[in-house]
């Protein structure tokens, strides 16, 4: 069903957004492939074959409220997000762009802080930001600031988010829900858990090392729509089932209680420093070890489930009592129940 106007849910990474992309973008933008992975594949980026290599190209516009949140700010998010999009395609990120759209009246001090954060992430991950653009819009034509970063990377073999095979293991590099729930709690004015903070971080080095093992079949970063959305996308694109075990999914205590209070499922909120890898059976211990080496505090990489031949296109959750239910792709951005 095609709607007349764009609603907030259209941008929330769920089924509504998928509908919009199919009907308004893919149906109209038909010149959409450069010979490699094109727009229609709806992957984290597109590819351009170049001799025996592939250039990987991606872009993302970043908006976040609040601009500064526990664990980071919009600048850190904008650089990490694009680095991660390239990395989950299997590419070594080469360079980024930075386009700023700023509202009239925005504080220069805040802007400096945001740009410094961008530089810090760029230096730590060895991905330079080599070109950019800056626009200022009149007051109220925009809320604060929007940052677009595009990124280019290179790889011998792009990794896609499909091609799952029966028996493959699903591995997650740490706890989920931290980014989404820390931002939501912060917005709602809840201060019940001081240790609740965003997991935003660049993952290129971790992913590179995992790829070098040769055991990574597919991967994806569970950003908008969370783990629930990511797994559903992987299952439906590969036409395989995914079976995950509730007890094995790492969720921090603070995230769980914030989720309970706000009525939000941690599986459905964004992560900004997490990757789900589909690993060829037998490689999972090696991958977990690498992930452990990249862990800061409070992070537990885990094998959370496996690819199955039954229930094609579906994600099945085995609960702590052994019951089974489906994990649905969320329809809109989760809304806390109190507002």
């Amino acid at each position: 069903m095609k709607e007349d106007i764009i609603k907030m849910e259209h941008g929330a990474g769920g089924e509504l957004m998928e509908g919009l992309i199919n009907s308004s973008i893919l149906d109209n933008l038909r010149n959409n492939s450069a010979g490699g992975i094109g727009l229609e594949e709806l992957d984290d980026g597109g590819t351009i074959p170049l001799g025996d290599r592939h250039l990987v190209f991606t872009t993302d516009s970043h908006v976040v409220k609040p601009l500064f949140f526990p664990g980071g700010n919009i600048g850190k998010l904008a650089v990490s997000g694009t680095i991660n999009d390239l990395s989950v395609m299997g590419a070594k990120p080469l360079a980024l762009t930075c386009s700023l759209v700023i509202e009239e009246g925005f504080s220069v001090e805040k802007l400096d802080e945001i740009i410094s954060s961008m530089n810090e992430v760029s230096e730590n991950s060895d991905v330079p930001i080599i070109t950019g653009d800056t626009k200022v819009l009149a007051k109220e034509e925009l809320d604060d600031v929007v940052i677009n970063t595009a990124g280019i990377g290179i790889t011998k073999q792009p990794i896609s988010d499909c091609n799952l095979k029966e028996g493959d293991k699903l591995v997650l590099n740490g706890s989920i829900g931290d980014h989404g729930l820390s931002i939501m709690s912060f917005r709602e004015g809840f201060t019940f858990e001081s240790n609740l903070e965003s997991d935003v971080q660049p993952l290129n080095k971790l992913i590179r090392e995992c790829l070098d093992t040769g055991g990574v079949r597919a991967m994806k970063d569970p950003t908008r729509g969370g783990l629930a959305n990511t797994l559903n996308e992987m299952a439906s694109k590969s036409d395989k089932g995914i079976l995950i075990e509730e007890e094995k999914i790492p969720i921090n205590k603070g995230v769980r209680s914030a989720g309970d209070i706000l009525g939000i499922d941690p599986l459905e909120v964004a992560n900004e420093g997490k990757v789900v890898m589909v690993i060829e059976n037998g490689f999972e211990d090696e991958i977990i070890e690498i992930m452990n080496n990249y862990c800061s505090n409070n992070c537990e990489p885990a094998v959370i489930g496996e690819v199955i031949d039954e229930e094609k296109g579906n994600v099945v959750l085995k609960t702590e009592v052994g019951g089974k239910r489906y994990v649905e792709a969320p329809v809109g951005d989760p809304v806390p129940r109190v507002c």
Partner: protein
């Protein structure tokens, strides 16, 4: 033994004694439905067993007319305090949330105590008192402890056993009740005796942990198997036979039982609580002029009333999941955390799977 092994043990025992015919039990409570769906318990139960939800969603059964009353009061400039679930429930035309967008003072609270605090800062405060036997005693206790003069209750409390009796009278086909643990901690075992004695319907008082529910279902099947019908307490760690007599006394002192309407279901004898004459000074209906037009319980296409009386599931509704979502609810069952549509939407709508 870990939970999974215990659950497996219950599941096997249940399957061993399940007759080959179709068997159906009705559980009453949204909290039960939430646990059953969230923990995937239906996948552990026999295929020929249907465990379906009844009317135990307080927000869902509050008639549109009573939501309209709250909206009308809010529009008169009175501050309304209500549980978050109630905010987005459509009344006849609009919701409290709509009224709030138009400038009315509607506050979301987690308890009546929070509402009392707000009363200190506003001219007049009406607490929209919804809920079953679990919330009514707390509200009664507040009224007995000299609340401020500007504090009123708009009572929409309902009682569970009369609604269960309606299901029996309605000829909804079923073999037994899984009775709600929370309500039973207040009312005890006695109010359910009628189901076993008069109607020959096994009734099992059941807790809310996934293992409690499997245990309750096992007790139900044991009665089906033996042919003996009784009220059984499978939640002994919380429910006493006589219930919480202090809470019961509190309720009878402050409230009077009356024939109340349930949303989309109609009037059920002796199923509601209104403030007794002694407490009329706190009764919003006695102290404000509330003039309302016709009310409308069921919005076009919505099957909430059928779902609440175990005559349908969310999947029987054409709106479910497409036009009707928690973001854009057409009926109360999709709004409330305790509504079956909302629960199925969040935790997977299709209970059968092929693994």
């Amino acid at each position: 033994m870990d939970k999974e092994k215990l659950a497996d043990k219950f599941s096997k025992k249940i399957k061993e004694i399940t007759p080959s015919r179709e068997v159906r039990a009705i559980h009453i409570c949204g909290t039960h439905e939430q646990a059953i769906t969230q923990y995937g318990l239906r996948s552990l139960l026999p295929d020929n067993f249907d465990l379906t939800m009844g009317p135990g969603c307080p927000v869902c059964v509050t008639p549109a007319r009573e939501v309209d009353e709250a909206i009308e009061l809010a529009k008169q400039g009175v501050t309304i305090a209500t549980f978050g679930d109630m905010l987005n429930v459509p009344g006849s035309e609009e919701s409290l949330s709509d009224a709030r967008s138009e400038g009315a003072d509607v506050r979301v609270v987690y308890s009546i105590n929070e509402a009392l605090k707000i009363a200190k800062d506003v001219e007049e405060l009406v607490f929209f008192g919804i809920g079953f036997e679990t919330t009514a005693p707390t509200n009664a206790a507040i009224l007995k402890s000299n609340p401020p003069e500007n504090f009123y209750i708009l009572s929409s409390h309902r009682l569970i056993p009369p609604a269960m009796e309606l299901l029996v009278d309605m000829d909804v086909n079923f073999d037994g009740f899984i009775a709600p643990g929370h309500v039973s901690t207040i009312i005890g075992k006695e109010p359910y005796e009628v189901f076993a004695n008069k109607y020959d319907v096994p009734t099992i008082i059941t807790g809310f942990e996934p293992l409690d529910i499997l245990f309750g279902v096992l007790k139900f099947f044991e009665q089906i198997d033996s042919g003996e019908t009784k009220v059984e307490n499978a939640y002994e760690r919380a429910v006493r036979d006589k219930g919480n007599q202090k809470a019961q006394k509190m309720m009878t002192e402050v409230f009077e039982v009356f024939d109340a309407k349930w949303r989309g279901i109609g009037e059920i004898p002796n199923s509601g609580l209104k403030l007794s004459d002694e407490f009329r000074e706190f009764d919003a209906r006695e102290n404000f002029e509330i003039e309302l037009g016709e009310s409308r319980d069921i919005h076009p296409g919505c099957k909430c009333h059928l779902i609440l009386t175990a005559r349908g599931t969310p999947e029987d509704c054409g709106l479910f999941g497409d036009e009707c979502t928690p973001q854009d609810p057409h009926g109360p069952c999709m709004v409330s955390d305790e509504g079956e549509c909302n629960i199925w939407f969040r935790y997977g709508r299709r209970p059968k799977m092929d693994i």
